[in-house]
């Protein structure tokens, strides 16, 4: 879109020309993901995860729409419609349900890798701040969608998870409880909550899709980043998205879908909680209420605040939990180093890996039963999380000496590569000069 050497769209097919003259959709697609979008040629596999997130969004929408053809959004009927009707009687119902359940997990998994790619390679820095913030909006919408979706089967975890999460709002003084009752349409999760969660759960993925379009659009103005963080200087630095990255995305997607299929078909309940196979009982709380794994780090932060200090502990927990995501919006201004990529920022790099370890620890704490040392570890890890983003990163970015950057992404002389490519011997090895691009 923004590089002058991007190939313009030239329809070869007369039908495509006819269509393009009336509605420039073919041109749009060509310029976004076709041969007309130049992409840095040095992207590594961490750049595949955005497309994977899009694939899982599509899987969730499609499986969700067909599941909605059978789901009863009533407190009496929901559990049976999922576990009896869909799982036993609907043709291929068990597959659709398991695919949707595990699709949510994989959607979050690829999104987390995508986010951490952004953190390491400085994808949030100028001029891509808005891409980053739109991405955070997508993430917040995903969390809302995932939470509401989990309530729908009306199992024990569905019900009590809804209780706990809507209970957060009552932590806020004065307005908290009225907001909570307004959200639920009642004093506890009941019919009103279930139907409205169903409606919103159906709606939000389409909102997500819209924000994804904005996210990609905003990205395509400056173009994609790359592992060196150095801007594209000339045509030699890029390759057209199609066929190079369509092929790379294609095969890697097949690999991830293989992992997804193995979980869905052979361990479909592994990532879930057995208590959700018990019908919701408002009078009996499960021994350990935990959300789904993708919420565990936030759950750990929430539970880490155990002492009242000016504000009640519960309110600290809720504030910290929201703050832990909201602070990410400020990242482009917290980390003002002109060097984007962590590859050239040795101090930043170390702290990055500490952050990864910290988030993994928080995840473990969030899902495990509470005992004294887990609480202590969680408190320490939560403190590190805030210190990392709000104190360490600004200081590191101000005082760090980065490594020298390359002057450009690539030079285009091709040699010495033929051995690793073309494993079926499709091409004779080339020697000496080759036609340089452009």
């Amino acid at each position: 879109m923004s590089f002058h050497w991007a190939k313009p769209y030239e329809p070869k097919n007369s039908f495509m020309r006819w269509l393009d003259e009336r509605l420039p959709l073919p041109r749009l697609v060509y310029g976004a993901i076709g041969g007309g979008y130049p992409v840095p040629r040095n992207l590594n596999y961490f750049w595949n995860f955005g497309v994977l997130a899009g694939i899982f969004l599509t899987i969730q929408i499609i499986t969700g729409i067909v599941l909605a053809m059978h789901f009863y959004a009533t407190t009496d009927g929901a559990f049976n419609s999922v576990n009896q009707l869909i799982m036993r009687d609907v043709n291929a119902g068990w597959l659709l349900r398991y695919a949707h359940m595990n699709g949510a997990s994989f959607f979050f998994l690829v999104t987390y890798i995508h986010i951490f790619r952004g953190l390491y390679y400085g994808s949030y820095k100028a001029p891509r701040e808005l891409v980053w913030m739109l991405g955070l909006v997508i993430y917040l919408l995903m969390m809302a969608t995932g939470f509401m979706g989990y309530v729908l089967p009306w199992g024990q975890m569905s019900y009590w998870g809804a209780q706990v999460i809507t209970g957060f709002f009552s932590a806020f003084p004065l307005v908290g409880e009225p907001i909570r009752v307004w959200l639920l349409g009642g004093y506890a999760p009941d019919q009103a909550a279930l139907t409205r969660f169903f409606s919103l759960h159906y709606l939000l993925p389409f909102v997500i899709a819209g924000v994804v379009i904005l996210h990609i659009w905003a990205l395509h103005i400056p173009g994609s980043g790359n592992p060196t963080g150095v801007d594209v200087k000339s045509e030699r630095d890029t390759l057209p998205f199609h066929p190079f990255y369509t092929a790379k995305d294609g095969w890697f997607a097949a690999a991830i879908l293989l992992a997804y299929a193995l979980v869905t078909y052979f361990a479909p309940d592994y990532l879930g909680h057995p208590d959700n196979y018990i019908q919701a009982n408002p009078l009996a709380t499960p021994a350990h209420i935990v959300p789904e794994w993708y919420f565990w780090p936030f759950y750990a932060i929430l539970r880490s605040f155990t002492v009242d200090f000016i504000l009640p502990a519960k309110l600290w927990g809720v504030l910290a939990m929201f703050a832990s995501i909201l602070l990410l919006f400020f990242l482009p201004w917290l980390d003002k180093s002109p060097v984007r990529s962590g590859s050239y920022r040795p101090v930043f790099k170390r702290f990055f890996w500490l952050l990864v370890l910290d988030v993994l620890i928080l995840g473990y704490i969030g899902g495990a039963p509470i005992n004294w040392w887990r609480v202590a570890l969680g408190q320490f890890a939560s403190a590190y999380y805030f210190i990392h983003f709000l104190v360490i990163l600004p200081l590191v970015s101000a005082f760090e000496t980065p490594l020298p950057l390359p002057s450009s992404i690539s030079e285009s002389v091709l040699h010495g590569e033929t051995q690793e490519a073309a494993p079926l011997g499709q091409n004779k090895p080339r020697r000496g000069s080759t036609a340089t691009a452009g």
Partner: protein, 191 residues
């Protein structure tokens, strides 16, 4: 994702790799077609799930006890969530039905064709008018049987005779006779 098989773009390929080009294209075509087949196969559950589920199919057969239906009476029951008329015809009604010449009928069928051999008095039909689907009157005591003594549809005036055949009005066909059998002299299994 690659949607069309294309040879690699980038530095121009020279003609001397004719063989290599064919192998290149073959691999691309193979990969994309394989993926395409998978994508189509993945669509199958999406369509199959709309077909009637096992619990609906299990209700595709219904047994009805007709021991209490006297001669001249009829009952309305349900099969596959649709109304079914079970009528015990009187000898007079049977004679009326047999007296009608087939050339008079829009949808020619004899009473014998619409009942089981030896049980010509048992007329079992769907209670769904073949015009636009209303439930005709006439099965219960006191309902309007229409001028032909069978059924009368109040929606658009279709009139059926004692063999539930269309005689007048907009309906194109006779009331449908579902598949059924007598599992005993007093029970009928429909479907």
């Amino acid at each position: 994702m690659a949607t069309k098989a294309q040879s690699a773009e980038g530095p121009a390929t020279t003609g001397s790799d004719g063989d290599g080009v064919r192998r290149r294209d073959f691999l691309n075509v193979a990969a994309v077609s394989f993926a395409g087949v998978g994508a189509v196969a993945a669509l199958a559950p999406l369509f199959v799930q709309m077909a009637p589920s096992a619990d609906v199919l299990a209700l595709a057969t219904t047994e009805v006890d007709i021991s209490k239906v006297q001669s001249g009476q009829g009952i309305k029951t349900q099969w596959r969530k649709q109304p079914v008329f079970i009528r015990n015809l009187t000898p007079k009604e049977i004679a009326e039905a047999n007296a009608v010449p087939l050339s008079d009928l829009r949808d020619p069928q004899t009473l014998a064709e619409r009942t089981k051999p030896g049980k010509a008095n048992w007329l079992i039909t769907l209670g769904v008018c073949t015009h636009l689907g209303c439930v005709p009157l006439g099965i219960s005591e006191g309902e309007n049987k229409g001028p032909y003594g069978g059924y009368f549809c109040p929606c658009h005036g279709s009139m059926y005779d004692t063999a539930a055949r269309i005689r007048q009005g907009p309906a194109p066909k006779n009331l449908e006779v579902p598949e059924y059998k007598f599992t005993s002299p007093t029970t009928v299994q429909i479907g």
